[in-house]
């Protein structure tokens, strides 16, 4: 694997490809993906189903192995990065353990990583506060709404202070109002913690609202068709979505998505 010494680059992929062998022949989930993500960026991956955006995230997380090309995470291979607990991963579903209370769910990675009890308590309290779930420590997951469960799962990913946060359509199953609210909170959280966030979505407004960089992808084979650097300010109230600047970026994303589809 190629290892880049540039400390400012968190993720660097070059000519990355991943082919799944299935009974119906090979499926090219990723093909020739070149991408650099710098520290502190908020990068959204957008594209239709099957464009490989989730696969790319899973390659970063060492949950899938690329079949060609190179990728480095924090200057290491994805496996080394995973072993050094370089990232927190938020899945499409909250995946909270139903037999654990919220605080014990958030403490789960801390238990596994061997933090002391006092340390665990302090971190759980801090991260639950970050996602506005203070007061729900003793509740079980089923006692919380879907949005609150997803916030708890974000707290769990934040609890061990990895600098990189990988989020795979975390708000996909939530209704629009809750989603708006969580997007706003996520931006505040990003501003406060200065983490690097990779965020998979298929909502154009969500991608434009959140990101400093939008990666537009297209399916079969999954590849990057456009990378858009956002010109929006870091401070983003919800009504920024009505400004001409926002709409221009959204139009360009839509254009990129349409271009990807015309290959078919």
């Amino acid at each position: 694997m190629l290892i880049k010494p540039i400390s400012d680059t968190v993720i660097s992929a070059s000519r990355l490809g991943l082919t799944f062998e299935t009974n119906d022949g090979p499926v090219h989930a990723l093909s020739d993906v070149d991408l650099d993500i710098a520290k502190g960026e908020f990068v959204s991956f957008i594209g239709p189903s099957g464009c490989g955006k989730t696969t790319f995230l899973r390659v970063i997380a060492d949950l899938e192995q690329p079949t060609s090309g190179t990728i480095s995470v924090n200057g290491m291979t994805p496996e080394e990065a995973r072993r050094s607990r370089a990232y927190g991963y938020v899945f499409q579903a909250a995946a909270l353990y139903p037999w654990r209370t919220i605080e014990r769910n958030v403490a789960l990675p801390l238990e596994i990583m061997g933090h002391s009890r006092a340390e665990r308590q302090a971190r759980v309290a801090r991260t639950l506060d970050l996602v506005n779930l203070t007061g729900f420590e003793k509740k079980y997951p089923w006692q919380l709404s879907g949005g609150m469960q997803q916030r708890a799962s974000i707290a769990r990913a934040l609890a061990f202070d990895a600098d990189l946060l990988l989020m795979d359509e975390p708000f996909g199953a939530l209704d629009e109002i809750v989603r708006d609210h969580l997007n706003e909170q996520l931006l505040q959280l990003w501003a406060r913690t200065s983490k690097t966030i990779c965020f998979v979505t298929h909502s154009i407004p969500e991608a434009v609202y959140l990101s400093t960089k939008i990666v537009v992808m297209s399916p079969r084979p999954g590849r990057v068709t456009d990378v858009i650097e956002s010109t929006l300010p870091k401070e983003r109230p919800l009504d920024i979505r009505e400004t001409p600047e926002f709409l221009a970026i959204a139009a360009r994303v839509r254009e990129g998505l349409r271009a990807g589809h015309s290959y078919e």
Binding site: R82, A95, P98, W99, R100, I112, W142
Partner: protein, 308 residues
């Protein structure tokens, strides 16, 4: 205000019958009464041949009332009437000191101790085998067929051999019976726990991978808690099988005591009332054990956040 329906008002008005029919008491009572009625009819029918012989040997006159009463009060009826069994149960459970060999409680305890020992060993063995099977593909392939094959051997055929062979090396009493119980009860636990340990979603396992959790951490923090509901279900099946195993194990030992030896002695001497009361005692034991596991299950699952 009277136009608004009062919640619970309907129950208050239609009284006790509505409330009882909504619970389980009435349906259960009806079924029990139906069984008793069928039982009495069957007792009259099955015992009638013998009763007619008694009358034929006697001095002529008998009425249908004599006949009915006769079929329900024979010493060694083909099928004892329920009240005969009830009297026998009363005499052997309440009427005897528990340390007496005539007490059914004494015999039940002998069987219960073997059942419990075998059940505990079977459950532990079942969990251990399931752990091996889940964590090792070679074990999965090599062990599982043998485990399934083990249950195709008729226990009635193998139990006497186990008892006799173990007796020849000086092992008698509790242990041989417990081993037969173990043999029967480990199976549902293995099958249930393999399913339980494999029940976590891919996403939950992926989560553990992102934390770089070790295999034992994944087991204790994810697989084992996920498998708990499966454990209790298989334990309920296992404990019933365990009791059957202990009783079967007591059949060849004859005089050594236990419900199984009561069954055997009863059949030697044609004491059908004794057989049936031992059977009912075994059924009551089994129900009690399953109930006890159910209580533990409810407590444990409530403590691990199960939805009430």
């Amino acid at each position: 205000m009277s136009a608004i329906a009062v919640p619970g008002g309907a129950i208050g008005r239609s009284g006790i019958w509505t409330r009882m029919s909504q619970g389980t008491a009435v349906p259960v009572l009806i079924v029990v009464m139906a069984i008793l009625a069928v039982w009495y009819l069957a007792a009259v029918w099955l015992n009638s041949a013998w009763q007619l012989q008694i009358f034929a040997r006697g001095e002529g006159d008998w009425t249908w009332v004599d006949f009915l009463a006769g079929t329900m009060s024979q010493d060694r009826p083909l099928l004892p009437a329920p009240h005969q069994i009830a009297v026998e149960l009363w005499n052997t459970v309440i009427g005897q000191h528990v340390t007496s060999r005539r007490s059914l409680v004494y015999h039940a305890w002998i069987t219960l101790s073997a059942t419990l020992l075998g059940f505990v060993m079977g459950t532990v063995l079942g969990i251990l085998l399931a752990v091996l099977i889940v964590h090792n593909r070679a074990m999965d392939r090599s062990l599982m067929p043998w485990i399934i094959a083990s249950q195709t051997i008729p226990i009635l055929a193998i139990a006497p051999m186990v008892v006799v062979v173990l007796a020849s090396i000086g092992m008698t009493g509790l242990v041989p019976k417990a081993l037969i119980s173990t043999y029967l009860s480990f199976f549902p636990v293995v099958v249930g726990m393999v399913k339980g340990f494999r029940s976590p979603d891919t996403i939950q396992l992926d989560l553990m991978r992102t934390y770089h959790a070790s295999q034992s951490q994944t087991f204790w923090k994810l697989r084992f808690p996920s498998a708990l509901p499966y454990l209790f279900t298989s334990m309920k099946v296992g404990v019933a099988a365990s009791l059957v195993g202990a009783i079967v194990g007591e059949l060849p030992t004859g005089a050594a005591g236990g419900l199984g030896s009561r069954l055997l002695a009863g059949s030697y001497y044609g004491q059908t009332v004794q057989i049936w009361s031992a059977l009912l005692m075994a059924a009551a034991l089994s129900a009690m054990l399953i109930l006890a596991i159910g209580v533990v299950q409810r407590i444990v699952l409530a403590r691990t956040g199960a939805r009430p």
